[in-house]
Symmetry: C2
Subunit: 337 residues, 2 copies
């Protein structure tokens, strides 16, 4: 089958139309007619080869929603016509202790959808069905894509930090990740405090479910806490004054990193020790957690807020993602392509 894709032919290039052939699905594979695909900052990092592992032409896109068109001989959890989603991860060894514990996201052999191989900026995707997840009927397919990457990232980071209910949860940054984190935390029965640099976003945070929003000017420390948090999720790719943020955590509280800068983490140790605080980093989530997250998003009406672009306008959409002017996730519509 001929695939019509949007590819970056070299580092940082504008995306151009690009077509290639795919075979029929083998064994565990399935082919998907792409309906929508989100644009994530990681797509830009791969287009720009920021992590030194890109292979050109790059066909990015890893928040893919579409309809199963064909399945391989070993596929029995999907049938033709199902709506599925594919996120950052396309495979794992499925045999190591991480995989066997349901933590395929931690597998040493885990492979991203788009490195190497084509992702979802295309009208069709051939992929491993074992990392294609049925999308519950209650979730609007237009908004579902970002759940598969940004959504699982924040959900995983909150659960790894011990999110339960009745807790005080902080979210640093209201962007593509943070606006979903606020919804998960608040709709699952927690009180949410937001830290943002933007007055507008502080106001909007309340609509997302936040109880409180604290505006912190760029480069400044947050004010002293007047309410302590059990969990503080950092979604921002920036080096902040972590010592000052740690003071916002209650005893046994956890600062959970899901968005990070490349810079090393630099933080004072005494605020950790005095209150037995913790720090963790968390990457996406395993397959079991993905299904749980999608079910929760369905039942609790947790929806990424998206701007939808026709797939032909992909470069415009990418420019808006680059300039951080999307509120809050960009999604490409491939239905017409």
């Amino acid at each position: 089958m001929q695939v019509q894709a949007k590819a970056a032919k070299e580092v940082g290039a504008k995306l151009e139309s690009y077509s290639f052939e795919i075979e029929s699905p083998q064994e565990f594979q399935c082919s998907i007619a792409v309906e929508y695909c989100g644009i994530c900052h990681s797509d830009l990092h791969i287009i720009d080869n920021d992590w030194g592992m890109s292979q050109y032409p790059v066909i990015a896109g890893h928040e893919v929603i579409g309809i199963v068109k064909e399945i391989g001989s070993q596929v029995n959890h999907l049938k033709i016509g199902d709506r599925v989603g594919v996120g950052w991860q396309k495979s794992a060894c499925l045999q190591c202790s991480d995989c066997l514990k349901g933590n395929e996201n931690l597998c040493n052999q885990n492979q991203p959808l788009i490195v190497p191989g084509p992702g979802g900026f295309a009208n069709h995707l051939l992929t491993d069905s074992r990392f294609a997840f049925p999308i519950p009927q209650g979730i609007d397919p237009k908004v579902a894509g970002p759940l598969l990457c940004g959504g699982i990232t924040v959900y995983g980071g909150l659960r790894a930090a011990g999110m339960s209910s009745g807790q005080e949860i902080g979210v640093i940054g209201i962007g593509g990740l943070g606006h979903m984190a606020v919804q998960f935390a608040s709709k699952l029965g927690n009180r949410v405090t937001v830290f943002t640099t933007s007055e507008d976003k502080a106001e909007f945070a309340h609509q997302l479910g936040a109880d409180r929003a604290i505006v912190v000017s760029k480069g400044e420390a947050p004010p002293k806490p007047d309410r302590l948090l059990n969990i503080l999720l950092s979604t921002v790719p920036a080096s902040l004054d972590w010592g000052a943020y740690l003071e916002h955590l209650d005893s046994d509280g956890t600062l959970s990193f899901v968005g990070v800068s490349d810079a090393p983490l630099n933080l004072p140790i005494f605020p950790l020790i005095m209150k037995r605080r913790r720090i963790l980093g968390s990457p996406i989530g395993g397959r079991g957690m993905m299904i749980e997250m999608l079910s929760i998003a369905d039942r609790f009406k947790i929806e990424p807020i998206v701007e939808v672009f026709p797939s032909d306008n992909i470069n415009e959409a990418i420019d808006k993602v680059r300039s951080n002017s999307i509120r809050y996730r960009a999604v490409l519509d491939f239905n017409q392509s």
Copy 2:
């Protein structure tokens, strides 16, 4: 009653004999005839006013073992003649949520035994009985003192990191803290790896129960791991190559700090995120944990290894602690004083 103590009359001074009066115990207080008192590096920090909170004359000593001589009217968990121990903490508010959860060590009002007020470098101690813990009969009083501070510190740091049994546990540093951590971890059914800068201590680690000891030259990174750890406890007051040590942790593993340098923690974030690793700091332990730790030390024959000095030789003992030439804890004998 007249107390004969050993006091530092000014910053960093040699200790001199010093006597003062104590009243009879009021309400929850008890008076203790000191038998033994350990010397901890924290005592030196207080003698030297390293933390800017010392009040002179300083009477240090916070690993106190002795016999209850008198009790106040409200004391009902101790009786005259009981052997008890007192550690770093002498009081807490007992009403905040930390205290009510059994985490008196995290209480904002928690007060160290020796700042302000006299500690255990003396023949008698008047203190709050609620922070005086009965010493199980099976524990040799000569070695018991270091359990009350160093022992609870490593036990707390291991438990906070999720120590269970059947785990792979690493201990960085075989000194006053580390030599107890190896015993707790191994005797409670875990396999222990030690990281030390000393060939001698590497050899000795096996006698303490370690399965494996890795010698890491000062200023160098540890070698690449060939076995991954669930918990890595750092007992050293030094800035190490934390990125290299994080690589020794398995997925969901925890690097637990109980000994630290004053320098900020500097570490790469990606090794945290890729394997969902954690970092925590832990201070001593609450009262419930103290009793649990003492019971385990009794039942599993976990004993600090000590050098005992007559109390009159306190300055010699302190010099040996200062020069890190004690193996592994110094204890003063006050029975003759």
